[in-house]
């Protein structure tokens, strides 16, 4: 790990950071547009149309509006934590992009423990929600925060354990190596993706990931109907925007991880001129990630919310045993072959 | 390269801070936090010695310390909750029935 920090190719690194974070920030902004548009279409509405063609400039308008709105801080809130919470939420969410390989060379750094690094930083994201809820000194946010911490701890277990099966097959924790391990094919046509080897793990991962990102049907921390937007009830303007950004960043992160671990990352058919060949992996990667994001949005639009006890029971009594069983079976198979 | 002694001194300082927590704080959760500080200080020495001697076992011990810390936190916090239910307070000086 240390050699990356003290490495000599500092300029290249800076460029990569700039490209990736610039891209990611822009993408996150447009994710809000995408979600609004898609949700509207599902509900037979047009969605945003006023700002720019197809409402494409809507995110910029939203951003400006957030910047200029009055920043309200509730009187009896805990000022320091109230301000710190959105930052604590956003920073880890963005940190995980530093290890995600968007293409063969489009990766800021390839840590030998990259996957764990992502889990580590995303697990810190919980503090943003918890602190935000607590610092608001209001009962809905507090309840949302408590729910959220319990939920995150519970589902983090199955999330982490579901990955173990893949790790046992791939024999590495480095994300780049995970992708290259899936490059070849079976019988020349079927890509050697882990989804075919670890379907159970994939399902468990997907469900846990939805829960981890606090999205429907697991969004009990914010659930508008009962908790009035939960832990960010009291938040407004830029701080609220940061929470939103963090949430979208997390969605992208887990989608990217799913792509990398189960769907071969940036691998895909290569054709055309050399320049195109350089860009193609990134295109494949983004394509796969967008499919997941579509899936997320559609799920939000269609699936009703769990009850809290159902959520807990499902996490501990279904997902956890399932992922454990998956590990046992996988380890047997790996040991035999 | 940083001499191992520096790490050990740092860890001694952290450990001392953890110890002092017991003499300054009265909140039981704060005391548990002090224990965690001490455990981390010890972990630091383990890792430092592991590098110094080129043996992986030091890191394995850290692993076990983590497990013990997790168990300790789970049981300890459960006790904290039980204690709070009974006494409406987390002041350890109020829970002194277990004596001679």
């Amino acid at each position: 790990m240390i050699e990356y920090v003290t490495g000599s190719e500092f300029i290249v690194l800076m460029i990569k950071i700039f490209v990736i974070f610039g891209g990611v920030m822009g993408a996150l902004a447009y994710l809000s547009w995408l979600e609004r548009k898609l949700m509207a279409r599902v509900q037979m509405r047009p969605g945003p149309t006023r700002v720019g063609p197809f409402g494409l400039l809507q995110p910029i308008a939203d951003g400006l509006k957030f910047l200029f709105k009055e920043d309200v801080i509730p009187t009896h809130s805990n000022r320091f934590l109230y301000i710190a919470a959105p930052i604590v939420s956003l920073v880890p969410a963005l940190l995980s992009f530093s290890v995600i390989p968007f293409g063969p060379s489009l990766q800021i750094t390839d840590l030998s423990v990259g996957l764990l690094f992502i889990f580590a930083v995303t697990s810190l994201g919980i503090y943003g929600i918890a602190l935000g809820g607590w610092a608001s000194n209001s009962k809905y946010p507090l309840m949302g925060a408590i729910r959220s911490s319990a939920q995150m701890i519970s589902y983090e277990l199955s999330l982490t354990l579901s990955v173990v099966g893949v790790l046992m097959i791939a024999n590495t924790l480095s994300l780049a190596e995970l992708v290259t391990a899936q490059q070849s094919t079976w019988l020349g046509i079927i890509p050697r993706w882990n989804i075919f080897l670890q379907p159970v793990a994939f399902v468990v991962y997907l469900v846990s990931a939805v829960a981890e990102t606090n999205r429907l049907p697991f969004d009990l921390a914010e659930s508008e109907q009962e908790l009035v937007a939960g832990w960010h009830t009291e938040y407004s303007s830029m701080k609220f925007a940061m929470f939103m950004l963090a949430e979208y960043a997390n969605v992208v992160t887990v989608s990217s991880l799913a792509t990398i671990m189960f769907f071969g990352g940036w691998t895909g058919p290569m054709f055309g001129p050399a320049l195109l060949q350089m860009a193609l992996p990134t295109v494949w990667f983004l394509l796969k990630v967008s499919i997941f994001i579509f899936f997320y949005v559609l799920m939000r639009a269609t699936v009703p919310r769990f009850r809290y006890d159902q959520l807990m029971r499902f996490g501990w009594k279904v997902l956890l045993p399932l992922s454990l069983a998956n590990i046992v079976v996988t380890s047997f198979v790996v040991a035999i072959s | 390269m940083i001499p191992i002694g520096w790490y050990l001194i740092l860890s001694a300082i952290l450990f001392l801070i953890g110890v002092l927590g017991f003499f300054i704080k009265r909140n039981i959760i704060a005391l548990l936090l002090s224990v965690e500080i001490m455990l981390n200080a010890v972990n630091l020495t383990f890792v430092a010695f592991s590098l110094q001697h080129g043996k992986i076992s030091g890191q394995i011990f850290v692993f076990f310390v983590l497990v013990v810390a997790a168990a300790e936190a789970a049981v300890g916090l459960a006790l904290v909750i039980a204690m709070f239910r009974n006494r409406e307070s987390l002041n350890v000086d109020r829970s002194n029935l277990l004596k001679w």
Binding site: L124, Y127 | G21, A48, S57, A82
Partner: protein, 163 residues
């Protein structure tokens, strides 16, 4: 460069640890401790224990401390520790004792002959740790699983409403 990093994160660790004691409210103490943990994890990286550094964050910061924060929020504690300290005298014994201990250790380490010998290269990779864990330390490893189980049951029993 490494020296700077070391001193920077060492300072953060010590400062955060002190802050744990100074803060009046346990939530701040807990948050401060998370900061200290992260700093210690960085120090682990400096010590070439990458895997442990990440695990330390996941387990400590991501799980154990969340549990603490959760409990603190659940109990929704008042800020002040109530009443006068009945055991005030403890400070006058404990703090000098502790400082004496520190002086003892530091002077000993200070007087230690600096060992210029080459440090063996050792990277705490997951594979190496796993290898050791499942061969030399397999029995303790299994015992810890038992420990976890017992802690699990203990926590459930203690936290039951009608204890």
């Amino acid at each position: 460069m490494i020296q700077i990093l070391f001193f920077f994160f060492a300072a953060i660790a010590v400062g955060a640890a002190l802050n744990v004691l100074v803060q009046k409210h346990v939530l701040y103490s807990a948050l401060s401790l998370i900061l200290m943990l992260t700093a210690v994890s960085v120090l682990f990286i400096l010590l070439q224990a990458d895997f442990l550094a990440v695990i330390n964050v996941i387990v400590y910061a991501g799980a154990i401390m969340v549990l603490f924060v959760f409990v603190i929020m659940l109990l929704n504690l008042p800020e002040d520790e109530d009443g006068a300290d009945r055991l005030r005298w403890l400070k006058f014994i404990g703090i000098p004792l502790g400082l004496f201990f520190l002086v003892l250790v530091v002077t000993t380490l200070w007087n230690l002959e600096a060992n210029p010998g080459t440090q063996p290269q050792l990277v705490g990779s997951p594979a190496a740790i796993g290898q050791s864990l499942f061969t030399d330390f397999v029995l303790p490893f299994e015992v810890t699983s038992l420990l976890i189980l017992i802690a699990l049951m203990g926590a459930v029993v203690f936290a039951k409403r009608d204890l």
